[in-house]
């Protein structure tokens, strides 16, 4: 799961500009969205074994 912030002027997957949200975005959706300035990552993806630590 990754935390993103909506940085563009329009909502992204129902999240309004300025909002933060957690999601497992498809890598292509993420790549295009970051490239066009719709979103930015605010945390890196957590590893699956993080919960065991």
């Amino acid at each position: 799961m990754t935390t993103y912030k909506v940085t563009g002027p329009t909502a992204f997957q129902g999240h309004k500009p300025g909002e933060q949200f957690d999601a497992d975005l498809d890598e292509n959706v993420e790549r295009r969205a970051i490239a066009r300035g719709s979103i930015k990552k605010t945390t890196a993806k957590k590893k699956e074994d993080d919960s065991d630590a």
């Binding site: 563009g8 329009t10 997957q13 959706v29 295009r32 066009r36």
Partner: protein, 143 residues
Amino acid sequence: MPKRIALMDSVEVDSVDLSDFSRSVRFTSEHDQVDVSGFNPTGANEFLAGQTTQSVTVEFFGSYGTGEVHATLYPIHKDREVVPFAWRPDQNTPASATNPELRGNVQLLQYGPGGTRGDVDTFEATFITADPAGLVFETTPLP
């Protein structure tokens, strides 16, 4: 059910809400009409439903800001990307049986913005289906 004036539709392309940059949507789904007629007493033709072709055409306002129409559509067209598309009649309520959401993965084979002096900058973009799932009206919100 009440009749509807289209005012609050939701249009998402590649997860970007382009509702405010759109002013019309037209979905088409057509099965080929395949003639399987044989000789028969009445001479009537017999048809079967063949291949299905689906598309959705959206009229967009030309806009060139970060994350707006051009920034969303042009890379999809240029790079031949397959992207999610969604449209539902009422953006203020989630998808339901009375607010069905058309969803599917699409491609944009043609991209043709333009402008005429003194006129509102609008253009149509037609998205075609990109996988066997096609475009389907769903009655439950995405998780």
